[in-house]
């Protein structure tokens, strides 16, 4: 039995993937902070439903011949990205608000820290159960 089969660990792992994906979208928003007609995007909040937990593996295209390209966007299709509704759009059509994005990055980082701490703690629990501590 792999460690990821435990529901707690798989949930924490999904959460960590979600934070990774969100960090990517936020850095995209900040990089495009001065691009014309750019709409910032963010991830939809993560909801844990029993049905979705079971099928947590990302859907990837199968490679039937050696010459095929490996499909790349396996991870990004897992979470839904949506365009944010921003109240502040500049005359160039850009709707990125740098302050908002920085706050989101900080929140993302703190939540990620919480998840990794939980992961460490859970590993410690298992170690205690085995009796190595």
């Amino acid at each position: 039995m792999a460690i990821t089969d435990l529901p707690l660990f798989s949930m924490l792992r999904t959460r960590m993937h979600w934070h990774q994906e969100r960090q990517r979208l936020l850095s995209q928003n900040v990089a495009n902070a001065d691009t014309r007609n750019y709409q910032p995007r963010d991830l939809a909040p993560l909801r844990f439903e029993p049905t979705r937990l079971a099928s947590a593996a990302p859907m990837v295209l199968d490679r039937t011949a050696a010459g095929h390209f490996a499909s790349m966007s396996g991870t990004s299709s897992r979470f839904e990205a949506d365009a944010q509704t921003s109240y502040e759009v500049r005359p160039t059509g850009n709707a990125v608000n740098l302050e908002d994005e920085m706050i989101k990055v900080a929140a993302n980082q703190m939540d990620y820290q919480a998840v990794t701490s939980l992961y460490t703690r859970s590993l410690g629990l298992i170690k205690t159960a085995i009796g190595r501590r």
Binding site: M16, H17, H19, Q20, E21, Q23, R24, L26, S27, Q28, V30, A31, N32, A33, D34, T35, R36, Y38, M72, S73, T75, S76, L98, E101, M102, V105, A106, N108, Q109, Y112, Q113, T116, Y119, T120, L123, G124
Partner: protein, 136 residues
């Protein structure tokens, strides 16, 4: 590793803003460059543009520097009859560079640059946290 992609996207932002700073520096340096002869035009202010580009390898929308365009506004005209490039009325055309506008632009570029650096720092700390799971 997804965090490396975040860092690569932020790096594209850094590159674009650095290119913009180069254009601004060119404008400020040439703020008083008159035409080589009396009939020709003096230096024309340049504007850096950005465009979003989909990077296939990163699977993300990075930013690149688009074509550098010129500012079509009027040149500054100064009355200097003694200038070698003065026309018959004694007027000399100077570049349409406004130092105040350039400074504001520079501040904006600086601010965006710092925001991208912050993203890189945040991603780096998140990678560190992931590695720390191993240490427990």
């Amino acid at each position: 590793m997804d965090f490396m992609r975040s860092i690569a996207i932020a790096a594209s932002g850094l590159r674009a803003q650095a290119g913009r700073m180069r254009v601004i520096a060119e404008n400020i340096a040439n703020a008083d460059s008159t035409a080589p002869s009396s009939g020709a035009e003096p230096y024309r202010r340049k504007i850096a543009t950005f465009k979003t580009e989909v990077d296939r390898a990163l699977d993300a929308r990075i930013v690149t520097l688009g074509p550098v365009r010129t500012d079509p506004s009027e040149f500054r005209i100064k009355h200097e009859p003694g200038h070698p490039n003065a026309d018959e009325n004694g007027n000399v055309r100077y570049p349409n560079v406004n130092a105040l506008v350039e400074m504001t632009d520079m501040r904006e570029a600086q601010r965006s640059y710092e925001a991208n650096i912050n993203i890189i720092g945040a991603s780096r700390r998140m990678i560190q946290r992931t590695i720390e799971i191993l240490r427990s």
